[in-house]
Symmetry: C2
């Protein structure tokens, strides 16, 4: 059976394109508006347009590829996009270095100020060396020197012990030691033996399903020394949580094992990110003595190497809810030999530690205003916090839920959808029948990302092109009949696009936004209902996360995704989860506060909630 065209999925950009059987992958990427580095112009002499085949089949390796690619790369599925052609539908992973312009990453975020309450402290020490008249072991010697300064050591982890003797001798028996608190004890654990005067560094990371945001912090001053983002490399194995769980299930026990593979890829990227951050400030990851990682429950499990099978099947329970600590070495992280990784608590299978971190960063558990805080993604986690004055309880009452809002706001399942990468329409207005677009990077449009499609639907509603049920209404000059016979709205004609194809909004696109909006709004209503509150009672409405940062609040209000509150009650706080992770990195008190938040929250399971179906159907209607 032969086919005249194939579907090419380009990850992590999230673009899909149909190409003829003779098209190279480079041409396919160009057709999709994804700019690959191809210094030589596609003749195969520069080797820069490397892509990795994830699924499907390509034409055989060319001689040029055999020359340009190493054996390891070939074994790992790398090809040159200018040489390879599809022989089936394929899914490609494009490494960041093959893209001309990077994707947009969200590392900035808001959070309240917190004081330092350090988990790891530095101690500078000079120790007298052993002699034939002082035969104490290196450990005994070190402990005695610390005892003179009033410190008692509880444990020295094996990797630290294994480096102790060489380290002390190489540094002529002078060292800066990193000591870590032990809960409820005066004794401390020895984390690292560093050269004298080394800084003590910490790493906080928000592991998003799509993107990673990492922060390098000076643990003594609490100052953020550097921050950076990267794509989550697991995207190549599935764009959302569910497809990654499916991948792990399908490849369970195989070689390479799916769970292990996803963990290894993520850890490799994190090691790379940590090394880059450190290099940027003239330090080494060996000086990172403590790390905090937040993510949704599935990312948390995949990072820690915990099974995710039970997260993919009802009743979707996590392996572990409470916070826990583990040695960085157990995960393959290249930090200080005795560095500890702290993982804050998860609330439920689909409300994870990243949500807890966001609530922590914004002090939602102690706010004096009735507050809704949410983070929109494929799953949207929502918390309602009601201050003590309203309930008569001791602390705030907090209710949380998770709604399956789908991947529409990530650009997936949308006709012209793509992630927030260069060429994506991120803002859109319809003025007097004319469509004005703003793209990321200011280049010609090649697709539309979450905030753009939200704007498009809102503008079509305002212009009367869409009715409240989401049906396109005949009459606008840009409306036309699609090949499936249904109406579609022309956003950008081929001539104005970056790839020579029309960009349209279809009835199906509208429906995706309708489902997402309906789920989010229903979740909000259920929480308010549980607390006996009306929408207007909400005094503060916090929208966190990357999409939440870039969305136009007026568009969200117009389609009714959020309740119709005065605009000044809304706050777009960016990557607050990353900020919460940083707070927990420098403060034991914040860790305790996070655990308290997780214990305090009443989790509402929507799938078994008696009025969810009703609320959802009602919320599907556009408008306030």
């Amino acid at each position: 059976m032969t086919s005249s065209s194939f579907t090419i999925d380009l990850e992590p950009v999230g673009r899909r394109v149909q190409v003829g059987t003779k098209s190279t992958l480079l041409a396919a990427a160009q057709a999709a508006g994804v700019e690959l580095v191809a210094v030589c112009g596609g003749i195969g002499s520069c080797g820069t347009c490397r892509v990795r085949l994830m699924t499907g089949e390509l034409s055989p390796l060319t001689l040029i590829e055999e020359v340009e690619l190493g054996l390891d790369e070939i074994a790992a599925g790398f090809r040159l996009a200018c040489q390879a052609r599809p022989v089936s539908d394929v899914r490609l992973d494009i490494p960041p270095e093959s893209l001309t312009t990077p994707q947009r990453l969200q590392v900035e975020g808001q959070g309240v100020e917190v004081g330092l309450d350090p988990v790891v402290v530095p101690i500078d020490l000079h120790i007298s060396p052993p002699s034939l008249f002082d035969l104490r072991s290196d450990t005994t010697r070190l402990k005695a020197a610390l005892a003179e300064q009033g410190f008692v050591i509880q444990t020295i982890a094996l990797p630290v012990l294994a480096g102790l003797s060489e380290g002390l001798r190489a540094q002529d028996w002078s060292a800066r030691l990193a000591l870590r608190r032990v809960d409820g004890k005066a004794a401390k654990n020895l984390v690292a033996v560093l050269p004298p005067a080394s800084p003590l560094l910490g790493l906080a990371v928000d592991i998003g399903t799509t993107k990673l945001a990492a922060y390098l912090v000076d643990l003594v001053s609490g100052e953020t020394l550097a921050k950076d983002g990267a794509m989550n490399p697991q995207i190549a194995f599935g764009e959302d949580v569910i497809s990654r769980i499916a991948y792990v299930n399908e490849h369970a026990g195989q070689h390479p094992d799916g769970r292990q593979l996803l963990q290894d890829r993520l850890v490799a990227t994190l090691n790379h990110l940590a090394a880059q951050l450190c290099a940027g400030v003239g330090n080494s990851p060996q000086q990172i003595v403590e790390a905090v990682f937040v993510g949704n429950t599935a990312m948390h499990h995949l990072f820690a190497g915990l099974p995710v099978h039970q997260l993919g099947a009802s009743p979707y329970v996590p392996v572990i809810g409470e916070s826990f600590e583990l040695p960085a070495t157990a995960l393959g992280l290249s930090l200080a030999r005795g560095a500890t990784v702290y993982l804050p608590p998860n609330i439920a299978g689909y409300v994870g530690a990243d949500h807890v971190a966001m609530l922590l960063a914004l002090d939602v558990a102690r706010t004096q205003q009735i507050t809704i805080a949410l983070d929109i993604g494929t799953n949207t986690e929502i918390t309602l916090s009601i201050p003590a004055r309203r309930t008569g309880r001791k602390g705030n009452r907090m209710l949380s839920c998770s709604c399956a809002s789908g991947p529409a706001f990530e650009g997936a399942h949308i006709n012209a959808g793509m992630r927030a990468a260069p060429g994506a329409i991120e803002r859109l207005q319809i003025i007097a029948g004319d469509v004005r677009v703003h793209t990321i990077g200011g280049v010609a449009p090649v697709g539309i990302c979450g905030s753009g499609i939200l704007d498009a639907v809102a503008e079509l509603l305002v212009a009367g092109v869409l009715d409240r049920r989401g049906v396109l209404q005949k009459g606008h000059s840009r409306l036309r009949q699609a090949t499936n016979g249904r109406l579609e709205f022309l956003l950008v004609p081929a001539a104005a696009s970056g790839h020579g194809h029309d960009l349209v909004v279809s009835r199906e696109d509208v429906k995706e936004i309708q489902l997402a909006k309906g789920a989010i709004r229903a979740g909000i209503e259920i929480l308010l209902g549980e607390a006996g509150l009306m929408p207007d009672d909400v005094e503060q409405f916090i929208v966190a996360g990357a999409f939440g940062t870039y969305l136009d609040l007026n568009s969200a209000l117009r389609i009714g995704m959020f309740p119709a509150l005065p605009i000044e009650r809304f706050r777009q706080v960016g990557n607050a989860a990353g900020i919460g992770a940083k707070q927990m990195l420098v403060s034991a008190a914040q860790r305790r506060a996070a655990s308290q938040i997780a214990r305090q929250i009443e989790y509402i399971e929507l799938t078994t909630h008696p009025t969810f179906a009703e609320e959802f159907v009602q919320a599907l209607t556009f408008g306030k």
Copy 2:
């Protein structure tokens, strides 16, 4: 440059042989009296005579070898002894399966009875599974079920957590849990989630420089279910501690790194031994939830992956003296996912945890008799224990030292020396000028092991062939002039030997025994002197270890290696170190007692002791 003969070292048997350049390795082994399995008679069709090349060069691989050996084996240096010929001096490692008869291994030993004081306890549990109306995480659920039975969990190690969800579901939410004590806390650590009614097993191992002795114990009954020995595979990298340290130093940082390589080989053998012991009683190593390993300080460090460089150079200090615990996974041991390895304390660089274990097993710290306890090897560790009634102190006073007794009693550096393997002379008498020998396995003699050479020297002294200075006295019919012009004594003529060569005792052999005996006796005298005691004050004299088990006490007394005490004061106790390890496996109280012993001991460094040189010279003279 060509040579007409090469030296072939056969390990772990410890035999050396000179062969012509055309000799196969099989013929070389036969010439040395080492019987390799060669089912086909040496024509290369059976593939059973596998040996591994450690150093030196062999003839190129034959076609037969390419057929019989796997690529992995070839890469690892395996050859067929019937096919390969030396092209230089070579050192070969003979795997146990290639030897027709096994070496003698010492696993039996004496020790006092101790009560159980379990570190790990079993709890049987049925847990209610999650549902949409009970969304607690698996960990929370498990902890709650345990709390109902009065148990609080402190930590669950990552590997246990990673297996928890699948384990509970596979066992339909019924499990036998292994819980481990946490010092000073009511809370416990979760070690393993086993199928209902699984036994809880423990592993105790004495890691000797030459031999391993392993014991599989039922942790609930304290019963020893199985025991077995194996050769320490590190022998292939050096027969004693010093040469292994040298190997590690020379290969530091290389690929494969020397330290890592020695650790990996040992761990692989231990995993094999554990699996065999378990299989023998119908269990799996996954049920081993706790393990105790003892060894001298160098074996302890090499096992734990700690550096040994500083053990090989003055002042010879250990990385760590006190006891410590580490996860079995950190060492690559295939036991239960959360199994802990307990390593008892070391006293000094050359008095290790095996000596502590021996003292513990025989209750030397609380004996009411003035006691000397020693374990003879390349290093001989000696402890003198003086009961409270003699010192007026609260507990026994204990003094320890280590003397460099050399490898003579392991058969090394002795002309016809070999380890205690089949064909070794282990008992020898000279009756009316006639030499009567007894060999291990009752076969024709091919060499002489430690107890045999001790007997030989003692008998030559009694017969007047040797004088007290160790000089051979002319007059005996078996004396003859060696090629170096000095006298040698013919023990076994070629015709009566197993390999057609004379077995002789030379002046150099006598000197080796003299040095060993002198070092041991000097150590004993120094300890007695420090305590102000005379040799006759010693009421109990404990001789531990494999050589100590097989040596003839009368011979040891005749040459003056031990002070001249009535024979009934001596006890030969076998592998008491292994018994001490077993006691610590089943009893937390015994672990505390071991740490107390290590703290209580006054270590005497002989190299800086003012009277050591004098004592040593005096002790070189044979006789009581």
